[in-house]
C-alpha cells in the first residue's frame, strides 16, 4: 500500500507546489488547514522549506541549493543579506547570535527561523540573483556536489563544472524526475583528490581514463548506491560503466529514471537506491540500465585515479581544501575554516566584501562545511590573508578546528537526539587548548551527528560521534557513541563503533586519552586510520577512556524537551510558537 507521503505526492508535487506555497504565504500560517498540515509540510520540502521541530511551529529551515557549492560574484552577499533580514526568530544562539547561515556537508546553505509569510520576498531576492531553493529537500535530485573549484583547480584532470551545470539545468524542474521514491544525491568530480566524496552518494561520477577510438580519453567511472543513513551505511558500488562527459546526462538520467521506476515506494526506510543495489547487485543494475534506460552501448569502466585520493583520507596530501592553492589561471583559491559550518550574517557580508576586494566576488562551499574565496591574484594574496576576518575564519586553523564537522542538532532538527553545533565548538576549543596531536599528525577529523541520519557524515571521520542518551548519577543525560577510524580515499572505510553512550561531558577526556594512547602505542609514523585498523574493537574500546576533565557542558539535560535549548525559559510550555508573521505568538482558542 502506498505511504501517505506517496499519496500526497501523487496529488500535488514538484513545481506546482510553489503556487500553493505562495498562496499560504499570502494568507498567513493559519490559512493552512489543520488537517492538511502534514501533507503541505512534506510538499514544501521540494521548495527547500523544512518545518522546524516541536516547539518551533510556524518557523522553517530554508535550504538554498548551490550546485557544486558554487556562488557566483555577488551571491554570497545576497545570502548574508537574506540571513540578516529574514533568518531571525525568538531564540538567540549564545555563540552565533541572532542571524547566521549554515554551510552544509552537501555544499548547500541553511537558514533558520524563516516565516512562511516572508517566502515570496525571499524567493524573489534569491532568484533575481541566480539562487534557488528548488529541490533542496524532498524526493528528487538534490544539490549536486563535487570539488567546488571545478574548472579552476590546477590539479583537475577533467572539468566537471559543465557536466554539473548541465545536470542541474536538466533535472531541476524536470517533471519526469521530480517525484522519485526518495532523495537522489549526485556527486561529480574532476580532480584526482577524491574531494567530491562520491563514495557516499546515490550516484557518483569519478574521473577515469578510457581508450576510445584509439585515444586515451578522460571521462567518468560510474558508481551507484552509496549513503550513510539509518545504521545502513554503504559505499557506492562500481557498476562497470565509463561515460564521456557529453554522455553523462543520458547515463545519470537513465539511472534516475531506473530509480524512479524500481525504487521502493511502499517503505520509505527501504527506498534509497542503495537498497536496490543490495537486492539486484551491480551487474543487474547495469543490465537494466543498458536494456531499458539508455539508447547507446555503455562502455565498461575505465582506469580510475582512486590511488591518488587524499580528501578526508587521513594520510598525506590535501585532506580538505583549506589554505592557499593554485588555480589554472595563475591566481589562487583560499580555503577558510568555518567552524561547524556556521557563520554570522554580518560575517558573511564582510566576507563578501573581501571576496570583491581581493578576488572576483565569487565564493565556494566545501563538503567539510568550509568556504573558499577564489580568484585571488598573487599580488593581493598577502593583504587578503592579513584581513581581520581571517583571524576567526582561518586558512590554517588548529587541526581540531579544521577537523570539526557537525549537523544541526536539537537546536532545530526533529530527528536529532542531542545538541551538536555549539557542543562541537566547545569540544574543538577545549581540545585546541588542552591536547597535542602526536608528531607529524596534522589532520584529525571529529564529526558529530545528532542521530543516525548522519548529516555530519560521522562514519567517515577519525573520531565519529553520534547522539545517544545515558544515565549519569541516575539522571538522564545526553551522550555520544564513539566510532573510530573512518575515512575516504582509495580504500574507504566506515568507523567502527567501539564505545557506546559516553556522557557528553566525558567525551573530550575520552578523545584526549585516546590520542595519548595513540601517541604511546603508535608504530613508526603510522596514521590514525592505520593504527585503528591493526586493533580489534575490544582493544580500541580500552584505548577510549571517558573521563571528566576541565571541560564543562552546559547542555547535559534533554535539549529536545525544550522549545529552544538556549532560551532563558526553555520549557516547551514557554514556547512563543506558533506565531504570526511579525512573531506575535498565536494563542490557542481553547
Amino acid at each position: 500500500m502506498p505511504t501517505d507521503v506517496e499519496r500526497w505526492k501523487s496529488e500535488v508535487y514538484g513545481t506546482e507546489i510553489r503556487e500553493h506555497l505562495f498562496r499560504f504565504a499570502e494568507e498567513g500560517w493559519e490559512s493552512i488547514p489543520e488537517d492538511e498540515r502534514d501533507a503541505w509540510f512534506e510538499r514544501f520540502k521540494w521548495w527547500g522549506l523544512y518545518h522546524q521541530r516541536n516547539g518551533q511551529e510556524s518557523y522553517f529551515m530554508l535550504r538554498i541549493g548551490t550546485p557544486n557549492g558554487r556562488l557566483e560574484p555577488g551571491q554570497l552577499r545576497v545570502v548574508g543579506e537574506v540571513a540578516k533580514e529574514y533568518a531571525t526568530g525568538p531564540g538567540t544562539n549564545p555563540l552565533f547570535g541572532d542571524a547566521y547561515a549554515d554551510f552544509t556537508t552537501r555544499q548547500s546553505i541553511q537558514l533558520h527561523w524563516i516565516k512562511l509569510e516572508d517566502v515570496p520576498d525571499i524567493f524573489e531576492k534569491l532568484e533575481a540573483n541566480g539562487l534557488s531553493a528548488q529541490q533542496a529537500c524532498g524526493d528528487s535530485w538534490r544539490n549536486i556536489v563535487g570539488n567546488p573549484m571545478a574548472g579552476d583547480d590546477a590539479t583537475e584532470v577533467v572539468d566537471a563544472w559543465p557536466v554539473i551545470r548541465e545536470l542541474n539545468e536538466t533535472f531541476k524542474g524536470n517533471d519526469d524526475h521530480s517525484n522519485l521514491p526518495r532523495k537522489w544525491k549526485v556527486s561529480v568530480t574532476g580532480t584526482p583528490d577524491g574531494s567530491g566524496q562520491g563514495d557516499i552518494n546515490d550516484l557518483a561520477l569519478e574521473p577515469a581514463y578510457k581508450e576510445i577510438g584509439g585515444e586515451r580519453t578522460v571521462g567518468f567511472n560510474v558508481r551507484v548506491g552509496g549513503g550513510l543513513a539509518r545504521n545502513e551505511p554503504r559505499f557506492a558500488r562500481d557498476i562497470d560503466v565509463w561515460v564521456a562527459p557529453e554522455d553523462a546526462p543520458a547515463v545519470a538520467g537513465g539511472l534516475s529514471a531506473l530509480f524512479r521506476d524500481h525504487g521502493d515506494r511502499e517503505n520509505r526506510y527501504n527506498a534509497r537506491i542503495k537498497f536496490l543495489v543490495d537486492e539486484w547487485g551491480p551487474e543487474k543494475l547495469r543490465r537494466v540500465l543498458q536494456e531499458e534506460y539508455v539508447d547507446f552501448e555503455l562502455e565498461t569502466a575505465g582506469e580510475d585515479v582512486r590511488d591518488q585520493y587524499t580528501y578526508n583520507a587521513g594520510g598525506e596530501g590535501r585532506n580538505d581544501l583549506l589554505g592557499v592553492h593554485d588555480q589554472k589561471d595563475g591566481s589562487n583559491f583560499v580555503g577558510l575554516n568555518v567552524l561547524v559550518g556556521r557563520m554570522g550574517a554580518d560575517d558573511v557580508i564582510e566576507l563578501a566584501d573581501l571576496a570583491e576586494e581581493y578576488g572576483s566576488g565569487a565564493a565556494r562551499l566545501t563538503q567539510r562545511q568550509n568556504v573558499i574565496v577564489p580568484d585571488v591574484p598573487d599580488e593581493k594574496l598577502d593583504a587578503f590573508l592579513a584581513a581581520d576576518l581571517l583571524e576567526h575564519y582561518s586558512p590554517d586553523p588548529s587541526p581540531f578546528m579544521r577537523g570539526s564537522v557537525a549537523c544541526t542538532g536539537t537546536e532545530f532538527c526533529s530527528l536529532s537526539i542531542v545538541e551538536t553545533k555549539n557542543r562541537q565548538v566547545r569540544f574543538a576549543r577545549w581540545l585546541k587548548q588542552n591536547v597535542e596531536l602526536p608528531d607529524g599528525v596534522d589532520e584529525f577529523h571529529v564529526h558529530l551527528s545528532g542521530c543516525t541520519a548522519s548529516c555530519a557524515q560521522p562514519q567517515i571521520a577519525d573520531v565519529s560521534l553520534r547522539g545517544m542518551k545515558t544515565r549519569k548519577d541516575g539522571e538522564p543525560v545526553e551522550a555520544l557513541d564513539v566510532g573510530l577510524g573512518g575515512g575516504l580515499g582509495e580504500e574507504p572505510q566506515f568507523a567502527r563503533w567501539v564505545t557506546q553512550r559516553v556522557p557528553v561531558d566525558e567525551v573530550p577526556g575520552a578523545i584526549a586519552n585516546l590520542l595519548a594512547n595513540f601517541d604511546d602505542q603508535r608504530e613508526g609514523d603510522e596514521t590514525f586510520r592505520e593504527f585503528v585498523r591493526r586493533h580489534d574493537d575490544d582493544e580500541l574500546a580500552e584505548l577510549v577512556e571517558p573521563e571528566e576533565t576541565s571541560y564543562d557542558d552546559p547542555m547535559m539535560h534533554n535539549t529536545k524537551r525544550t522549545w529552544y535549548p538556549y532560551a532563558e525559559d526553555d520549557s516547551l510550555d514557554g514556547s512563543p510558537a506558533p506565531s504570526l508573521a511579525d512573531g506575535t505568538p498565536i494563542t490557542s482558542d481553547d
Binding site: E34, D35, R37, N54, R230, S414, S416
Partner: protein, 106 residues
C-alpha cells in the same frame, strides 16, 4: 470520527491529526521481557517505524536501544497515548512503565 495517524520526517515523530505528539529521543521505561535481560529496559527512542490504534490506545513501533545493557532493536508495539473523542491524550511516557505488546497490529 476518523483519526489520522502517521510517522513523518524519516521516523522523527508520530503525527496524530496533523499535530506532532511523540518524538524520538524520549527515554522510556519498558516492560519488555523479550527485548533484553534488564528487568525494565531503559529505552531511548531513535526512530519511529509505525503507528497504530487499538481501541483507545495508540501504539508505536520504534527502533532504539536499552541504555543499561546496549541491546538494540524493535521491542514490539508500545502504548504512547490514548484517544478520547477523537483527540490525542498524552501519557507521561518518561515517568511510566510502558508494557510492550508483541503483536498488537501485526
Amino acid at each position: 470520527m476518523s483519526v489520522s495517524l502517521r510517522v513523518l520526517d524519516d521516523g522523527a515523530w508520530v503525527s496524530v491529526n496533523d499535530a506532532r505528539e511523540v518524538s524520538v529521543s524520549e527515554l522510556w521505561r519498558l516492560d519488555a521481557p523479550a527485548f533484553c535481560a534488564c528487568d525494565l529496559p531503559d529505552f531511548v527512542v531513535e526512530n519511529v517505524l509505525a503507528v497504530g490504534v487499538d481501541g483507545r490506545t495508540i501504539d508505536a513501533k520504534v527502533y532504539g536501544q536499552c541504555i543499561a545493557c546496549g541491546e538494540t532493536g524493535v521491542p514490539g508495539w508500545i502504548p504512547v497515548g490514548r484517544l478520547s473523542d477523537g483527540e490525542f491524550t498524552d501519557i507521561d511516557r518518561e515517568r511510566s512503565v510502558l508494557a510492550v505488546r508483541e503483536t498488537a497490529h501485526d
